[in-house]
């Protein structure tokens, strides 16, 4: 693998940037057998392959992707990274991820453009104020930074914010996690792919898994794909919105509903927005990308769908909220909008676990908030696959928690925002 450094960049620049080589090996045809097959070549799947190779010494791995690398939700989210979740189980999982983010560019020798610009969660009602203050206290007890700001302090931190008292839902204050931030979504997947490929992981694109093969004892023996049968003793599914579809091939029913979640970006403008602002109550999520576009997260459509579209009234509602909170954006034009398919659990917490089928593992249920968890989920999924048992951090995130009544109820705790 060609390492990036100031020197290598300067040398390539002098050569007119003609000497760059592909960053990872493109494998057209899978081998007959691997030790581990990972289904889904997004950030979570590629990251799991990376950590399996790096930390567990397992290198005979295939990542099988139906479309192209990181073309699903990795490419469709609004790149918000934070760890200020309410419950101990969730905050330790997301904090594990945030800590990995903080060193990811160095670890991968690939600039993932992680920018810790802070995340401001705006409160509009007495209930919001109480809930967010509870979050602040819960987080601080767990050693996770989060603080409460008055409306004036919030405006000082984010000058475009409209804190006038005569809007429909006036700003009463905000919680701020300063270590929260954004990253370049493609770079994360490319960085993991490059490092994993360098350690021998095969990345196979345009290859759809059509069946999961099992032996007489019920254990996994491999998968059927559009490029033929591939054998493996361990199959790990990291297929986001399509997790139900893949796991159904092994007869497993999941507590998931797949819903479209939309996002949109504006025309690019000069740096005008210093942080991330989220408002759960009036449903507005906004930050500015390094290209200058305002990146806006809209809501989830209410029905099950795999269309990667969604109704126009959903982003329209979000834009109304944005225009009221940030009047300076009222004349900003929107450039592109799209949808991703999110896999939502009833308690809005993920599943990273073994399944009832020996050799079959699943990392799913990240719903509307999986991007922030990319390195953390990948890291703990790799641990679970390698050791055939969960790491203490992801141990509560099983499928069986719905049977046993030990939900991690971030649905009630976090309302809608992820």
């Amino acid at each position: 693998m060609e390492r990036f450094s100031a020197l290598s960049l300067a040398r390539k620049a002098l050569g007119g940037h003609l000497g760059w080589k592909p960053q990872w090996r493109s494998v057209e045809q899978p081998k007959k057998a691997y030790d581990i097959i990972i289904v889904g070549g997004g950030g979570h799947g590629l990251g799991a392959a990376y950590y399996l190779a790096k930390q567990h010494g397992l290198r005979n791995i295939a990542v099988i992707e139906r479309g192209w690398l990181a073309g699903g939700n990795t490419a469709r989210n609004t790149t918000i990274i934070r760890s200020n979740y309410l419950f101990d189980e969730s905050s330790s999982y997301y904090e594990h991820s945030l800590k990995l983010w903080e060193n990811l560019s160095q670890e991968l020798n690939y600039n993932v453009m992680f920018s810790q610009r802070g995340c401001l969660m705006v409160a509009h009602t007495v209930h919001d104020v109480q809930v967010f203050k509870r979050h602040v206290h819960a987080n601080r007890l767990n050693g996770i930074d989060n603080e409460w700001l008055s409306a004036e302090e919030a405006k000082e931190f984010c000058p475009p914010l409209n804190i006038s008292s005569n809007i429909r839902y006036p700003v009463l204050g905000a919680s701020l996690q300063r270590r929260a931030g954004t990253a370049r979504h493609d770079a994360v997947a490319w960085g993991f792919a490059r490092a994993a490929s360098d350690m021998g992981v095969d990345i196979i694109e345009n290859c759809e898994v059509t069946g999961i093969n099992r032996g007489p004892d019920g254990a996994v023996t491999g998968v059927e794909t559009t490029k033929g049968t591939v054998n493996a003793k361990k199959v790990a599914v990291s297929a986001a919105g399509h997790s139900s579809v893949v796991l159904e091939m092994a007869g497993i029913r999941l507590p998931l509903q797949s819903n479209p979640l939309q996002a949109l970006v504006s025309e690019p403008v000069k740096p005008a927005f210093p942080t991330i602002v989220m408002s759960n109550t009036i449903h507005a999520y906004i930050s500015q990308s390094d290209k200058g576009e305002m990146v806006i997260g809209a809501g989830t459509d209410s029905y099950v769908s795999y269309t990667q579209r969604g109704g126009l009234h959903i982003p329209a509602e979000t834009l109304a909220a944005i225009c009221e909170l940030f009047p300076m954006f009222r004349r900003l034009r929107m450039m592109r909008s799209w949808g991703g398919i999110t896999d939502n659990t009833p308690d809005r917490s993920p599943i990273t676990a073994k399944t009832s089928v020996p050799g079959l593992y699943v990392n799913c249920g990240w719903g509307t908030g999986g991007f922030k968890a990319t390195p953390g989920a990948a890291n703990l999924f790799a641990w679970t696959i390698a050791k055939n048992e969960p790491h203490p951090i992801n141990a509560p995130f099983t499928i069986e928690r719905f049977r046993d009544g030990v939900m991690i109820d971030e649905a009630a705790a976090a309302a809608v925002a992820h």
């Binding site: 399509h242 139900s244 579809v245 029913r253 999941l254 507590p255 998931l256 509903q257 797949s258 209410s302 029905y303 099950v304 769908s305 795999y306 269309t307 579209r309 109704g311 126009l312 009234h313 009833p346 719905f402 049977r403 046993d404 009544g405």
Partner: protein, 101 residues
């Protein structure tokens, strides 16, 4: 935005409706006899098909009545909507092909 045919009121815009999740889930007749696994199936496990789904809708800003629908989740095209209490209608191959188009 979807155009949805309420069996009682006719075609209306999606914003008048709220989605009620998977249809034809019967409440357990004898709740006391259910195992934890059966409760989990009833409460939380759901069909999440990529293809035809039977689902409930409520005409919240209209007649306020529930009804069922069959829709293709790959295209969001409806095959049929029908009243609560009716069995899930058979979908002909022609109807399925039209919905998948």
């Amino acid at each position: 935005m979807l155009l949805i045919r309420c069996p009682y009121c006719g075609e209306r815009a999606e914003v008048e409706f709220s989605n009620g999740g998977e249809a034809h889930i019967d409440r357990p007749r004898d709740p006391m006899s259910l195992t934890d696994e059966e409760w989990a199936q009833f409460l939380y496990m759901r069909d999440n098909p990529k293809g035809l789904i039977a689902e409930r809708w409520r005409h919240a800003h209209g007649c306020n009545r529930f009804f069922n629908a069959i829709r293709d989740t790959r295209t969001d095209r409806f095959v049929v909507t029908y009243e609560i209490g009716q069995p899930r209608p058979e979908v002909t191959p022609e109807q399925a092909a039209e919905a998948a188009r």
